[in-house]
């Protein structure tokens, strides 16, 4: 091993393979059957339970936990999958601390919620390990639907459409399905190739043809899709990124965090992945946290995450923040980048920041500045909708949809990150994809 955590620049192999493996192991190791029974026993089986309301896919949580407690986790899994076919992924990636577990009455009473996410994983893992797909397709309807984007929204939509008896073609621009499950989510949340295994398992419903490497706007055209299919669902996510608009942004060593992460997720050998000795991450969301944490885990010596507002406004949850700091990430609040300096050869790179504050006229940047050394700068200041079809009306930069997922164009539905409703979360994308599928079904069958 030539490099170490103290090697300057952006280099690979800072840590030995064993350390890397330990660093990128499962964030929450799965519960064993006894732990699951004990955790399940804590559920009070609340009336009209608040956790169900808090879950974007409205999983009947008390019911599935009772099914675990009574020794039938497979039945629990069926309860989960009925509402959320990506219940396995959601069990791993949902920020439960701001969803179901936040409103658990035991969180309110004792500060210790029932471990809903981990129990959900226990149930779904149990059924999936048996290789069982719990649903069968209804009689064929003869209708054909195009689903564009094979992320959580598209997958959930395609599955529900197929289940309802329709023929689905699932297009995606990337070589692999899964969307950010495959290319974005932090590696330690979805270990052992779970994203692809889940897609394979989901596809066993049948009736879904996958077309990879087909991009809307490049290889596909919305009007043509409307011509040849009875309905179209768009779940293209946010393929663009916000620019920093800071001097020096175009230098080497300055990269989009999502690109850094997607390379990491696709890497066969983490030891071959270069990372800076000193990494500065700019942003305050889940992407920023994941980029910062994974840089540390790859062996960066110093990782600083800089967010331009205070902790209350940060999109990343308290849990995510604590995770980052526990991994040794330093978080600086109320500062924004002014310029990126350094020599042409990449050495002595520094980012100059200015402190911000809320003044009498609202948010403002002050004159007070400071510098942080940075071999590598990762930008994570938000993703955007990338070149949406002209015909679609937008709302705040996203495809405008109604409660059922209908866009401004007849016969075209949308859901997930690209659409105007809900938070940018895996589980929300699943809910929107599923609901759009039901609305498409209704529209096609009436």
């Amino acid at each position: 091993m030539s490099a170490s955590t103290r090697t300057d620049g952006i280099v690979a192999g800072r840590l030995d393979p064993a350390t890397l493996e330990a660093n990128f192991a499962d964030l929450h190791p799965p519960l064993d059957p006894h732990e699951a029974r004990v955790a399940a026993d804590r559920c009070y089986f609340c009336h009209d339970a608040p956790c169900v309301t808090a879950c974007p896919t409205s999983i009947d949580i008390p019911l599935f936990i009772r099914q675990i407690a009574t020794g039938v986790p497979e039945a629990a899994a069926r309860t989960i999958f009925q509402q959320n076919i990506l219940g396995g992924m959601c069990a791993r990636v949902c920020p439960t601390e701001t969803l179901c577990e936040e409103v658990c009455v035991r969180e309110v009473a004792e500060g210790k919620p029932v471990l809903i996410g981990q129990l959900q994983r226990y149930a779904t893992d149990t059924l999936m390990a048996k290789g069982e797909h719990p649903f069968a397709r209804d009689a064929p309807t003869g209708r054909r639907v195009a689903v564009v984007g094979a992320g959580p929204a598209g997958l959930a939509c395609a599955h529900r459409l197929a289940m309802n008896g329709h023929e689905v073609t699932l297009y995606d621009a990337r070589p692999k399905p899964g969307g950010l499950n495959e290319y974005g989510i932090a590696a330690y949340k979805t270990v052992d190739g779970f994203a692809q295994a889940e897609v394979d398992w989901l596809m066993r419903i049948g009736g879904i043809v996958q077309e990879h490497g087909k991009a809307l706007g490049r290889d596909l055209d919305l009007d043509a899709l409307r011509e040849s299919y009875d309905a179209v669902f768009l779940g293209v996510g946010l393929a663009g990124v916000n620019a920093l608009r800071t001097r020096g942004e175009d230098r080497d060593g300055v990269q989009n965090a999502v690109d850094f992460i997607s390379k990491l997720r696709q890497a066969d050998d983490l030891a071959a992945l270069p990372v800076g000795r000193r990494v500065v991450v700019i942003g305050g969301g889940m992407t920023a946290i994941d980029a910062a944490v994974q840089s540390r885990l790859l062996g960066a010596e110093e990782v600083t995450m800089v967010y331009r507002r205070g902790p209350e406004e940060m999109a990343a949850s308290r849990f995510e923040r604590d995770l980052a700091t526990s991994k040794g990430v330093r978080i600086v609040f109320n500062a924004q980048p002014v310029r990126i300096r350094g020599k042409k050869d990449g050495t002595e790179r520094r980012v100059e920041f200015a402190y911000t504050r809320y003044g009498p006229d609202g948010f403002e940047v002050t004159d007070e500045t400071f510098e942080i050394r940075a071999d590598q700068v990762l930008k994570a200041i938000g993703q955007t909708l990338y070149e949406p079809p002209q015909a679609l009306a937008l709302k705040r930069g996203k495809i405008r949809v109604d409660a059922a997922g209908r866009t401004s164009v007849a016969g075209v539905w949308a859901g997930g990150d690209c659409a105007s409703g809900g938070d940018d979360l895996t589980v929300t994308a699943v809910a929107e994809g599923r609901d759009a599928a039901e609305d498409i079904h209704k529209a096609l069958m009436s």
Binding site: V38, H47, A109
Partner: protein, 433 residues
């Protein structure tokens, strides 16, 4: 600390905590360690005649668990001691010699004939033991051979055997009763009539803890078959308390010392048995679950509670709850309460709502923001909401002051005590005097 010394039917021990006749008291090794741990006495595992019995060689226990696999109920198909009589007698003698201040009671079970009883009593007397307990309770195996609960279920036999024993020994005789009967006062009365110095109860309850659904066989399963066992542990405590109270309340049985057994797990359980009239308590399952050390919690807990309440010794608490055990017909029907939900403590789980709405009196309203409130017009004060609420003291029963109007009935709450015997709806009611 309060004085915990115990004199039970003339048998003295430093505290009221005895180990019941069972595996914990099956041999010298155990009993010495039990005494070292602080147990006040033991009832030695039941002795029988040689050739000694044999036990099954497959599993002999089954169980019922609560959350986190807490053992709530245990069931067993073990028989009496499976060691030679002479070995047990020798060990009893040695242990008693070394622990003269501890109660050493020996449990006995021999066929229903006078000679075997005469024989074994004289053998036990030679050990220096403080007393004997007649095992008329074992509900499995031995009962098939006409012993144990087969005797305990026939008051005439109880009286006959007890009388033989009293005639053949100077030691105090305790009769251990089976709960597998309909009215425990009958066997207790038979024991008393036979001259028993005391009764102890309960022995185990006929039970099958579970059925193996793969093999369709009761558990514990031995080569595909199972047989009912005897149930004990925390789950049986309510049954034992009720049976103890029936004996304690019976005018014909006044003064008969009772050793309380069945689910005693903590000092509090023991205090409850004592309050219902027991002179000592016996413990089996709790020791089998947690080991001998629990007696230290029992001694310190009982002592502290007595100190806190100013009870100097066990006489100060024994039987104190007995006068308050009454018949349903004497309960005060003018005692009107309503459930009250403490909104500060409420965690909004809605269990009270589900319980009352679905299965009781639709007396809880669910208001916006998951606020739960009792509807006094509907509340019959059944207590179900209190029982299903996961938060202690969140829902309580508040008495309505006499003179106020019960919104459910529209009638004024009377200050005077009135019960069913004088109620107008009772066809057999006597006019109130």
């Amino acid at each position: 600390m309060a004085d915990l010394t115990t004199d039970f039917a003339g048998i003295k021990s430093p505290n009221p905590f005895w180990l019941a006749s069972a595996p914990p008291t099956d041999k010298e090794y155990n009993v010495r360690r039990a005494f070292e741990a602080g147990w006040g006495g033991v009832v030695w595992k039941t002795l029988g005649l040689d050739p000694h019995v044999v036990n099954v060689n497959g599993p002999r226990y089954g169980a019922v668990w609560g959350a986190d696999r807490r053992l709530l109920g245990l069931n067993n198909i073990e028989l009496i001691t499976d060691r030679p009589l002479e070995v047990n007698l020798r060990e009893i003698k040695q242990v008693k010699r070394d622990y003269p201040d501890r109660a050493m009671v020996v449990s006995l079970m021999v066929p229903c004939e006078e000679d075997p009883w005469k024989f074994i009593l004289s053998q036990v007397e030679d050990t220096g033991a403080d007393g004997v307990e007649l095992n008329f309770g074992c509900p499995h195996g031995m009962s098939e051979r006409g012993m144990g609960s087969a005797v305990g279920q026939v008051p005439e036999y109880i009286e006959m055997v007890t009388r033989w024993c009293k005639q053949n020994t100077r030691m105090p005789v305790i009769v251990k009763l089976t709960p597998n009967i309909t009215d425990v006062r009958k066997p207790a009365k038979a024991a008393k009539d036979g001259g028993a110095d005391a009764v102890s109860l309960i022995n185990t309850i006929n039970s099958i803890t579970a059925v193996d659904l793969d093999n369709f066989a009761p558990e514990p399963t031995i080569d595909g078959k199972g047989s009912h066992g005897g149930y004990c542990g925390p789950a049986v405590k309510p049954i034992a308390l009720s049976m103890v109270s029936e004996i304690a309340r019976d005018p014909d049985l006044q003064g008969l010392p009772i050793s309380g057994i069945g689910g005693v797990t903590t000092w509090r359980d023991a205090a409850e048995f004592i309050a219902l009239g027991c002179g000592s308590v016996q413990v089996c399952t709790a020791a089998m679950t947690y080991g001998f050390k629990i007696v230290q919690e029992m001694v310190s807990g009982l002592g502290q509670w007595m100190d806190d309440k100013g009870h100097a010794d066990l006489d100060a608490i024994r039987g104190r709850a007995v006068p308050n055990v009454t018949d349903w017909k004497y309960l005060n029907l003018n005692y009107v309460t309503k459930a009250r939900i403490d909104q500060e403590l409420c965690i909004s789980c809605g269990r009270c709502f589900a319980a009352c709405e679905d299965t009781s009196h639709q007396a809880i309203a669910m208001k916006p923001g998951r606020v739960f409130e009792v509807i006094d017009e509907e509340c019959v004060a059944c207590n179900l909401c209190v029982n299903v609420c996961p938060v202690e003291n969140c829902i309580t029963m508040e008495r309505m002051a006499p003179g106020t109007v019960d919104p459910r009935t529209g009638r004024m709450v009377e200050a005077e005590y009135a019960n069913w015997t004088t109620h107008p709806n009772n066809p057999a009611a006597k006019a109130a005097e």
